[in-house]
Amino acid sequence: MRIYLEPGRFQIMDKPAPTHKTIIPTKKEALPREERQKQLEFQNEAVVHLHSLYNYALHITMNPDDAEDLVQETYLKAYRFFNSFERGTNCKAWLFKILKNNYINRFRKNSKEPGKVDYDLIKDFYHSIKDTRRDSSEADTDYFHSLLHEEVYQALLSLPEEFREVIQLCDIEGFTYEEIANMVDSPIGTVRSRLYRGRKLLRIQLEEYAKKYGINTDED
């Protein structure tokens, strides 16, 4: 005999006047069903993108603590407005947009030169994450490859923000132009031209590093 427990309402089948309650204990029983449903959907659709979001936050803030705060804020907001998210559309894109807006409101509102690149910040940031990487299980046995990691990374970080951002969203996160355009609040043509110019700049930087270290980036 199945007993269905409706949170908030006990529907006990078959027994008219129970002397004891046969209840299947659930941890969520205090929550209304819709709320529990929403939580499950949210975990399935939104929380799964946590690593991508954190990675993105880390790159735009250049600071792990700020990145964590930003991600938390983003998920709070996303959960609150989850009912307005259109199921079946790209949830990751939706989350990234929320995060970007939070970033602008929190970190960029007072900035006088939003696109300016702070090279010292980049250097410090890179050194802090470099050590994080070392703690991971990846073994840097191949010096050439680890060098290229670092140089590519620095080359990307040295790009002006609007170029770095579209390259990140396109090449690393795999968003479409339309999604990127929405996220950066610019027309698709602008996304296209930023990608074009950003990649060109990147290429120039990489070639400089390659010359410096005697590495041929055409190999591989």
Binding site: L58, L76, Y79, Y153, S193, T217
Partner: protein, 85 residues
Amino acid sequence: MNCKTARVLMSAAVDGEISFTEEKGFLSHISECKECLEEFDDAKKTKLIIKERIIRFKAPQALIDSIMQLTDFNTRETEETLLYE
């Protein structure tokens, strides 16, 4: 198609965000224009380098835990949350 137009379409060609007719014109141009062909190859290589070489960072466990808690308002234990199932 001239070089100017080809350059406008170049990143879209790299990313597959180009229409069929645009692509036709683009490919026809680069079959005749050495400079644009070289630029196109460079752009594709650059994209590949980024895709392969950039490290992505995972969220620290503390952050994972706190996000899971955000959406688990009524539970104290977290073993039954979906990500761990």
